[in-house]
């Protein structure tokens, strides 16, 4: 009897507790929705000068006006600042909201340039005047190249209406549901029903706990998170399927072994492979996480977590779950 089989109730218990915590947190705390989902404005500036987040906060609140507050102003990396704010509630339609956003962003840009690059701002204006004077004939791009590198640059700007976020959430839900159903159908078709259900239970387990971790930790959730979830949906099941495949094969050759023994053998025969593939996948996606820019880090992290949870569920839970179900079915038959 292996370590996994001996402690199967411990492992299943851990899974059940984590799932309950996840569900409770999802129902009570929900997610920390990023601009993509909640709607709003997120702008990233690069400022190649010493700056104080408090100063930037002041500039932003001046630009936004008295009744509007930025939801966050944060330094990211060394010389970048990310500013997020919502819409004025009095705005009635998307058009007005986006006009509001665009004008606020350009107001903030102007104030930032005035503060951190006063010479640059003047230079840009002078240049523009020069371009107009020389007018036709000369290539304005030549002049533009002479301008020294700007101190303040707008690196990234996202302006998302609230309705877009709702539609995104809806499409994410349908995509995930569709993926689950398609995978259940495929696994049931290729294996027997019990294996199919076990595979999908593991799948739900993996995604639920991944969502739970994000909910409990309060990490922000954006569009790319959906792609990450669907990747985990498709990939974390791989290990489970390889184990189910081995169970399918071992059941065919089995004589006297109990279901628990078959499952245990199958898990142990495939464990080397499970560990090795998990390592190779983590090596690559881990590199993406370590070296990538902020937005891609946010995409790689849930995949990494999902792969780890998937490893746990397939190695420590899937086999035992299958065997427990099969054994109880046999017992029920005997009683009858």
């Amino acid at each position: 009897m292996s370590f996994i089989l001996k402690n199967k109730w411990v492992f299943m218990g851990i899974s059940i507790v984590l799932m309950i915590v996840s569900v409770v947190s999802l129902l009570t705390r929900g997610f920390n929705l990023d601009t993509d989902f909640a709607g709003g404005i997120a702008v990233t500036y690069e400022i190649k000068a010493d700056f104080d987040v408090a100063d930037v906060e002041n500039i932003v609140s001046n630009a936004l006006g008295a009744d509007q507050k930025a939801s966050s102003v944060q330094r990211s990396n060394d010389n970048e600042v990310v500013i997020k704010f919502g819409y004025d509630n009095s705005l009635e339609n998307d058009e007005a909201r986006s006009d509001f956003a665009l004008s606020k962003v350009s107001a903030i840009t102007t104030s930032l340039v005035e503060k951190y690059d006063p010479n640059g701002a003047a230079a840009v204006e002078e240049d523009a005047a020069a371009v107009e004077e020389t007018a036709e004939g000369e290539n304005p791009e030549e002049n533009a190249e002479e301008v020294k590198e700007a101190v303040v640059t707008l690196k990234n700007q996202d302006i998302i209406s609230p309705s877009t976020g709702q539609e995104l959430a809806r499409s994410a839900f349908w995509m995930s549901l569709l993926a689950c159903i398609a995978i259940l159908l495929y696994v049931t078709f290729r294996f027997e029903f019990v294996s199919g259900v076990v595979a999908v239970v593991c799948l739900v387990h993996d995604v639920l706990i991944l969502l739970g971790i994000y909910s409990v930790a309060g990490w922000s959730v954006d569009t790319n998170f959906i792609a990450a979830i669907l990747t985990v949906l498709g990939y974390s099941i791989n290990n489970t399927i390889v184990i189910m495949d081995r169970i399918r094969e071992n059941t065919r050759h089995a004589r006297k072994e109990s279901y628990a023994e078959i499952a245990d053998n199958s898990v142990n025969q495939t464990i080397g492979r499970s560990i090795n593939t998990t390592i190779t996948t983590l090596l690559t996606i881990g590199m993406v996480y370590i070296l990538g820019v902020t937005s891609i880090k946010a995409f790689a992290l849930p995949i990494i977590i999902g792969i780890l949870i998937g490893f746990y569920s397939s190695v420590f839970v899937a086999g035992s779950l299958w065997a427990t179900w099969r054994d109880s079915a046999v017992k029920a038959k005997k009683k009858a």
Binding site: T153, Q157, D158, A227, T231, N238
Partner: protein, 432 residues
């Protein structure tokens, strides 16, 4: 044995060619040309990599018809062409949305105004827009020009828009100007008066001009909007995203570095773990990279940042099939089988696991590809390409390479990842 060496050398050479073509492309004097990823135009970079602006417009109409939406798409495309944004991409998104991707445009505010305008041009008798004399539908062409448009030679030069009318427009305009001599005629764009000249005399001409206080840009975009025609309903922008080119560059550079390091780590890992078989898997992995690069460079896949992550992720997954197969081969070897039969059995027995486990990931990738939008779609496509190619290379290329190894009489079990002779004996005795 010598035949195996030849075959082995041949496939190594072929893989080297594939990788080379994938990176640099080939060009035999125009007759046969395959671009590689480093070629100009080889890869279509998404906006998050090359920088630019994405604007999503939503139609303000309940269930707009397909024809209307198609009209909107072509109208916006025309507006972009007239303003020389030839690289811009316009696509329908969902039922009632239009997605416009503008490369290298940092001034989102201006782009939004020009593209989303309804652009309904009307010539009317009063400033409220009643008694329409002529509409934009009766205009054949509109051009922005600079000079003195008025009959008064003392006037300053300015930007104006010169219209060419259709026959129908010409007669309508002639009739109206004959009737309205001495009165103003109001030229309105989307309900706002842009110019209100007083009619001096009846004008029966194919051309007429709109003067006003226009800047060069205003005149140009106004002309473009008149020429491209009006949009059947008003559009509201629901999403505006701008990425600077520097951020895109940084993101691309980092992602490529991550990919290369990840690839090297995976190759080393396979080599350490499976030795000779690992080397074969690494060669197959090189073939996989080459094929993926060729597909990316030639199928005009729109490569986004998550898309690159998808490819890098699939490098890790690519060897999964080989890990499954090799573990199986090792087991068979430990049972005391000969190398040849162990390899055969390993491939045959592992095949079902490989296919079943990859298909579930393919299901997810296809859903993201078909139903996703923007960067998610890009991720779905590359993940799909990555998994399909990796599965094929792991099954066919690796198998072919291993067969040649056996053909060359490589029988040392250590090379196949088995450490001790004891292992074999133990398994033989224990498992019976």
């Amino acid at each position: 044995m010598s035949r195996s060496i030849v075959k082995f050398a041949a496939i190594i050479l072929l893989i080297a060619v594939v990788v080379y073509v994938g990176i640099y492309g080939v060009d035999f004097s125009d007759r046969f040309k395959v671009p590689g990823i480093t070629d100009e135009g080889g890869i279509t970079q998404g906006l998050d990599l090359k920088g630019g602006t994405v604007i999503v417009f939503k139609a303000q109409a309940d269930n707009p018809s397909d024809e209307d939406m198609d009209t909107v798409v072509s109208t916006i495309r025309k507006r972009l062409d007239f303003q020389n944004y030839t690289e811009a991409v316009v696509t329908r998104q969902g039922v009632d949305k239009i997605r416009v991707e503008l490369p290298d445009v940092q001034d989102a505010e201006k782009a939004v105004e020009t593209l989303g305008a309804t652009a309904q041009l009307q010539f009317t008798e009063d400033p409220q827009g009643q008694n329409v004399v002529m509409t934009g539908d009766q205009v054949k062409d509109a051009v922005a020009e600079y000079g003195n448009a008025s009959s008064n030679s003392m006037a300053k030069n300015s930007f104006y828009i010169s219209l060419t009318l259709t026959d129908e427009g010409r007669s309508a305009f002639a009739a109206a100007t004959a009737r309205l001599v001495g009165q103003p005629i109001y030229i309105m764009m989307d309900g706002a008066v842009i110019s209100a000249p007083t009619v001096q005399q009846a004008i029966d001409s194919e051309s007429c001009v709109i003067t006003g206080e226009f800047t060069a840009d205003e005149a140009k975009s106004l002309a473009a909007n008149i020429k491209s025609g009006k949009i059947p309903f008003s559009l509201e922008q629901v999403e505006v995203r701008t990425v600077s080119a520097t951020l895109g560059d940084e993101a691309l550079g980092n992602a490529v570095k991550a990919g290369i390091i990840g690839l090297i780590l995976v190759m080393l890992f396979m080599l350490l773990l499976y030795r000779l078989m690992g080397l074969m898997a690494d060669i197959a992995l090189a073939a996989y990279m080459g094929v993926v690069l060729i597909i990316l460079a030639n199928c005009h896949v729109n490569l986004t940042l998550p898309g690159i992550a998808g490819i890098i992720l699939s490098i890790g997954m690519a060897v999964d099939a080989n890990v499954v197969i090799f573990e199986r081969i090792k087991e068979e070897l430990k049972l005391g089988k000969t190398v040849r039969s162990a390899v055969d059995a390993g491939f045959n027995r592992a095949l079902s696991a490989v296919i079943d486990s990859n298909i579930t990931t393919i299901i997810s990738a296809v859903i993201l590809w078909v139903l996703g939008t923007g960067t998610i779609k890009g991720f779905g496509i590359t993940l799909f390409i990555g998994i399909v190619v990796s599965m094929l290379s792991a099954i066919f290329v690796t198998k072919f390479l291993l067969k040649q190894m056996i053909g060359m009489n490589v029988k040392n079990l250590w090379l196949y990842g088995i450490s001790k002779k004891q292992d074999v004996a133990e398994m033989k005795g224990g498992k019976a």
